[in-house]
C-alpha cells in the first residue's frame, strides 16, 4: 500500500539539490514542501504568502501552497519563527542572504532551457576596485566561438542585478548564458559579451547599494572607471558607445537609467527592467508622482531629440502584475509625448526573475544591430 508520501504526484523542482524529491511541483502548479522536524512547534513556508505546515505522527511536516506562477521565486523555511533557507533547495543570493528558491517551469517556454547548440562560457574574474579599495568579482559571458575567433571583437552588454542580490543573480538565477546561447544559435542576437558586475558599490564608510543619488553615482564611477577599462583591457571587445549597452533590473534598472542616460557618449543602448525609480514599492520615499526624470537626466524631456540621436536603443520593461506597472506606463507615455524614442514591453508576472529573463531575451535581440 502506498503511503501518503508515495502517492504525491508531480515533479521535483529544478532548484532542488541534486537528487532531492522535495519540494515538488504538482500538475496544477501547487508546490509541496517536506521538512523533518519532530521537535519544532511550527513549520511554515514563506513565499510572500505564509503557508502553515501540517505534522504527521513521525514529525514530518508537509506544506502545500496555492498554485504558483511560473518562474523563479525566492522562499524561506520558517522554523518556530526563524526564517532560514530550506536544506532541500539550492541557495541563491537574494533578499540579502543565501535564499532558497523554487523555479516553476512555464509550459511551452524553453528560451532558458539548455539545448544542443554551441555554448559560451561564464567566466569568474577578480579585479581590484579603486572605489571600494577591495578585490571584487565579476562574471563575464563569452559567446560560443570566442576562443577560436582570432582577433574578432565583440560588443558588450553590462547587466545589473536587483537590491539584495549580487553578481551571481544574472549568472545563476537569470540564466544569462543559456538565454544568449539559444538566441545566438537562432540568429536572433548578435554574438556579444555580457558582463555581470556586483552593483553593491560603496566607498569606505558608505552603505552599499540603494536608490539614492550617491549610491547611483558611485556605481556609475565603478562601472565606467574600473569595470569597463578592466574588460576592455582583458577581452576582445569593440570600442565605441554603439558597442556598449547597460541594463539591469529593479535597483539595477535604476543604475542603468542613471549611468546609461547620463553617459550616452559611453552607452548607446540602455535597458531598464522593472525599476523602482519610476514608483511603486522599492524606492524608499519616492512614489510615481515624485519621480521627475528631468531632474535626474537633464534634457531627457526638454531636449529629447539629442537623446534620440545618441541612443540606438532605449528600452523599458515591467511585469504586468508588478506594482510598478502603472507608474512605468505613465513614464513611458510621458517620454513618448515629449518625443523620446523608447521601446516598451510588459510580461506576465510580478517583480520576479521570470519577467527579467524575458526582458533580457527581448532586449538582447534589439541591441547591436
Amino acid at each position: 500500500m502506498l503511503s501518503a508520501q508515495d502517492a504525491i504526484e508531480g515533479i521535483p523542482a529544478p532548484t532542488n539539490i541534486a537528487g532531492g524529491s522535495y519540494p515538488r511541483i504538482l500538475p496544477d502548479g501547487k508546490a509541496v514542501f517536506r521538512v523533518n522536524a519532530p521537535q519544532a512547534d511550527k513549520i511554515q513556508i514563506d513565499l510572500g504568502k505564509l503557508y502553515d505546515g501540517q505534522k504527521d505522527d513521525k514529525g514530518i511536516w508537509m506544506v502545500t501552497t496555492d498554485p504558483l506562477e511560473p518562474g523563479f521565486h525566492y522562499y524561506s523555511l520558517v522554523i518556530d519563527g526563524v526564517r532560514v533557507s530550506d536544506p532541500a533547495s539550492e541557495t541563491f543570493y537574494g533578499t540579502g542572504r543565501m535564499s532558497s528558491a523554487i523555479d516553476v517551469p512555464e509550459p511551452g517556454v524553453d528560451f532558458y532551457t539548455i539545448k544542443d547548440v554551441p555554448h559560451g562560457d561564464i567566466r569568474h574574474k577578480n579585479y581590484f576596485s579603486k572605489i571600494t579599495g577591495t578585490w571584487r568579482s565579476v562574471y563575464i559571458y563569452t559567446p560560443p566561438g570566442y576562443d577560436n575567433s582570432g582577433s574578432e571583437q565583440y560588443p558588450v552588454l553590462y547587466i545589473q542585478h536587483g537590491g539584495g542580490e549580487d553578481e551571481r543573480g544574472w549568472a545563476i538565477q537569470g540564466k544569462t548564458d543559456i538565454i544568449l546561447d539559444n538566441l545566438i544559435a537562432e540568429g536572433k542576437a548578435v554574438p556579444m559579451l555580457v558582463v555581470i558586475p556586483n552593483g553593491n558599490v560603496s566607498r569606505p564608510g558608505m552603505t552599499a547599494g540603494g536608490y539614492n543619488d550617491e549610491a547611483m553615482a558611485v556605481f556609475g564611477e565603478e562601472l565606467i572607471g574600473n569595470i569597463i577599462p578592466f574588460i576592455e583591457k582583458n577581452y576582445r571587445v569593440k570600442p565605441g558607445s554603439e558597442n556598449r549597452a547597460v541594463s539591469g533590473l529593479s535597483m539595477g534598472g535604476g543604475q542603468a537609467f542613471y549611468t546609461g542616460l547620463r553617459n550616452t557618449d559611453v552607452f548607446a543602448n540602455v535597458g531598464v527592467f522593472s525599476t523602482g525609480l519610476f514608483g511603486g514599492i522599492g524606492r524608499p520615499g519616492a512614489g510615481d508622482s515624485a519621480f521627475d526624470p528631468e531632474s535626474v537626466i537633464p534634457g531627457i524631456l526638454t531636449n529629447s531629440e539629442s537623446f534620440n540621436k545618441k541612443l540606438d536603443v532605449f528600452y523599458i520593461s515591467v511585469g504586468e502584475q508588478d506594482p510598478r506597472i502603472e507608474a512605468t506606463k505613465k513614464l513611458v507615455a510621458t517620454f513618448r509625448d515629449k518625443g523620446l524614442e523608447v521601446g516598451f514591453s510588459s510580461f506576465p508576472g510580478g517583480h520576479e526573475w521570470q519577467v527579467w529573463r524575458k526582458s533580457l531575451h527581448d532586449f538582447a535581440q534589439r541591441i547591436f544591430k
Copy 2:
C-alpha cells in the same frame, strides 16, 4: 554604554554574507555566532561538536565555540533539532546540501589570499554526458595570459571533490584559482589548466558517487570518455599522458587512485589527498586492513617498476589529525617497500579543506616539470 554585543572583539568570518558581523572569530580562535530567534526553544551550532546557545531577554541567541583550527569548516545551525544553514553565512555545497561554513584564517599563511598578480579565469561550462544522459557542468581554470597566448598549449590537472560535494568544491571552497595564480606568479608552478568536474556520476538507475567499484569505474568512463575529449576539443591543451594529471580529495582521491593508476597511458601524474580508500572513516565496510591495492590496481605491488616508468608523479597526502593517517602512512610504507616511487606529505588538520588547499599547493608544484 556598550552593550554586551558591541563589546565583542574579533573579526567577521570571511565566509559571512557581505556586510555581516556574525559569526565573528575572536583573537583566541573561538567563534561567536548570533541568531535572532525569540520563539525557538533551543539553538545550537553543529561544528562536528555541538555547542548550545544562550538566549538574552530580547530573544537573541549567542553561541561561543572552543578555539577552532584554522581552515574551512562546514557547520549547521540547529533550530529546535532541525539542521539548517545559517542565514548569516555564505553557503557551500557540502554534506549533501548547501551548508554554512566558517573559514578561519591561518596566521602567516597567504598562499590562498588574492594578491596583485596576474589572474586567470574560472570558467563555467555545460556539456552533455553520454553516461548520465544529462547536461552537466564543469569548471575550468585557465591561467593568466591564456587568452593572449596565441596557439600555446597547456598541460591539464583534473581535480575531484569529496563525498557530499560537487564541482563547486574546488572552484569555491578550494580556492583553486587563487592558489594557481599565486604559484604561477612566483614561478613555482607551470601555467596549466585545472579542470574541475562533478564526480557524482551514475548511469540512470545507479546511485551517484560512493566508493564502490561500479561508482569508481563509471566515474573513470565519464572522465576519460566524455570530459577529457570535451576539454581537448574546446581548449588549447597539450596531448599525452605526461601533460595530464588526475587528483582529488577523499572520495575524489579514491577516484584519482582508481582512474589514474588504471590508466597510466592517459595520466602520468596522480595525486591522492586524504582518501578513505586507505581506511579510517569514509569507506563503508572497509578499514585499513581490508584495502589491498593489488586487487584494485594489478601490478602496483608486484610490478612496481612498470608503474615507476609510466608515472612522472605519484603523490599521496593526508591531514595529521585525520583518522586516515595511520592507514595512509602504512600504505605509503608498503608501496615504498615494494619499490614504488611515491611522494608523501602530511599537513596539520583533520579531514578538511585546509589540508586539501595545501595538498593542491604542494602537488601543483610537482607536476608537469
